[in-house]
Symmetry: C2
Subunit: 409 residues, 2 copies
Amino acid sequence: MDELDRTARALDAEHAATDLRARFELPPDVVYLDGNSLGPLARGVGDAVARVVEQEWGRGLVGSWNDAGWWEAPLRVGDRIGRLVGAAPGQVAVGDSTSVRLYQSLHAAAALRPGRRTVLADPSSFPTDLYVLASVARQVGWQIALLSPDDVPARLSGSDDVAAVVLSHVDYRTGRLWDLPGVTAAAHAAGAVTVWDLCHSAGAVPVDLDEHGVDLAVGCTYKYLNGGPGAPAFGYVAHRHQDAFANVLAGWTGHADPFAMSGTYVPAPGVARARVGTPPILSLAALDAALVVLDDVDVRAVRRRSSSLTAFLRACLEALVPGTRFASPADDDRRGSQVSVRHDEAWGIVRALAARGVVGDHRPGIARLGVGAPYLTHADMLTAARTFEAVLAGGEHRAAEHRVRPTVT
Amino acid sequence: MDELDRTARALDAEHAATDLRARFELPPDVVYLDGNSLGPLARGVGDAVARVVEQEWGRGLVGSWNDAGWWEAPLRVGDRIGRLVGAAPGQVAVGDSTSVRLYQSLHAAAALRPGRRTVLADPSSFPTDLYVLASVARQVGWQIALLSPDDVPARLSGSDDVAAVVLSHVDYRTGRLWDLPGVTAAAHAAGAVTVWDLCHSAGAVPVDLDEHGVDLAVGCTYKYLNGGPGAPAFGYVAHRHQDAFANVLAGWTGHADPFAMSGTYVPAPGVARARVGTPPILSLAALDAALVVLDDVDVRAVRRRSSSLTAFLRACLEALVPGTRFASPADDDRRGSQVSVRHDEAWGIVRALAARGVVGDHRPGIARLGVGAPYLTHADMLTAARTFEAVLAGGEHRAAEHRVRPTVT
């Protein structure tokens, strides 16, 4: 046992109280560093889904919309997510994909700031954010200004034409954690609203939406919330904006009295007006059961564990793989819950790591090692770094079998 | 055994080849007449979902996006639906809700007919259709003309300003089956495109989208396709419109090269460009397994069985409940797969029927008895009519316990 082993052991002892691996059904032979793409299966999820399928659907049939609480699920599960992102109850609706939620939120932002013609966004955003923004901008007549989140406050200063600032809380490639409180305050000082994409922070980093006065936010639930493949996204609408929230996706479930079957859309009070179509109950059931696992968890504790894990992973890579070029920040406070390494052969590295049981993922030019803190240990970080070292030392990343098409976020 | 029993028995013998009840896990003590709201659980669906949860997600983790075919599922399942609605492969994408699909399709229709300012729709459409249409119309500058589908061809004649005709194939309340071929031809003659809502016909009535030259269509999958509560919807884009199909919901999964993570949206070739965000894999898995049950089924055979069942249900009600006011047409060719009865106390009737194991549903002023032909028999129709008779005779529909809030479509 060398010094790194001893350090790992000491850190794991120090953080033993936040080790929740027993709550997840991870294969024993895998170090799973792709929970920022697809979180693992939590215990109880399989049984919960089976119960919904066999009992609620199979036996309860259509009556389960009322009897099993299906109809209310998008808001009930929304409140469960709300606790994890610092939103008091009644501000989060679940359903649809992040792309759809973002489209809806951007239109709502435009309606909150009519007459303003500029929207600020980060050119390094996840592609969907840019694609959807471009679509909405064409529809509402926005000019898109692309700039680093670091430069947003200066750009806002003295401006009176910015309608909205649309940013990711954590960069999906580099793991850079942006200054949500500062940017939000700067936006408000300039009369703009904020639309935050929380895909890479919800469940991993304290967000504190209410505390920082965020206006609108969206996020997916299949990363650090472990909701399952393609689990429904969520949208946050701050209480103060709900009366003015204009839902262009005016589906019937957001109606004030959906069962009156009126021909005229009257939006429901509260965040219910952000509902769109009939919610995907099976996917929602998995998400709900996955969130139960986090019900007694404080995101600040997850964050402390995560910072320690990612800092240790960086230290191990620096020690074992000299010359590692990190895309993710060294400063704990600026780093989300991942360690990204720049490498021209990142794709081969990720494939070779996976062949040895260390599952990360690839983004162009980057090997991305995501850290779902609740189910990972410092010993896992050391294993990952040693495997990284072995892959490079043996040239395994250049093997022919590691040249197939990329996997999905 | 009276004459109606003998007739039921004879008809069930005549239609024995299309009795597929053994493929469904219906409770034995229920006559389920709400499959037009939520189709029942098909055998094999529970196992399929459990396999996706425990094996593909739990053990395969993120690799299942490739290894288990998750990424391709929206188009693979789309082709499975395509066969049932008369669409050759490569024209149907699955995902999102009907509301979202409709919003997307209406925008695409507007883009196909720029400069035209009128859209025709039925005021009796399911509410979501009208709400979403109103939203899109505001955005694209359409004037909405509401009229009965019967009057649409005359309205189109000589007109050169109609961009699109947006209709439901089957009316959700009355079960009226509209003339899809005739209206589509009339629309084309006037240079308009058609957007058909197939929620109440897909899987129950031959649609023959390709044969009739339909342009765009949407539909849900939780009614006669038995996909499960909130199962993802589908969108049809005819081959000839795919190159020009403008997807305002420009999510990353519809990109030509999604994993290049480019900042600029380049739509995929084919119907893949109608994809939006990350698809809900668990709900999709249930839908896929439910469709397997129909893989050897000809919708024309389902339709023949359905017409016989609904005609017999009407005959039984006429015989047993004199004065029944039908909202659904007497003519088999104009009736979808339901029998609707007008009654001022429809809500109480539906609740009292359910208390006796005959599950239908309620729409304002209408007791709606949906007929999922594959799992229902003529004997079930007679049971339903006799129960209807008993409920009215005993005044059970006026009991206090039948005055709670309505159930969901």
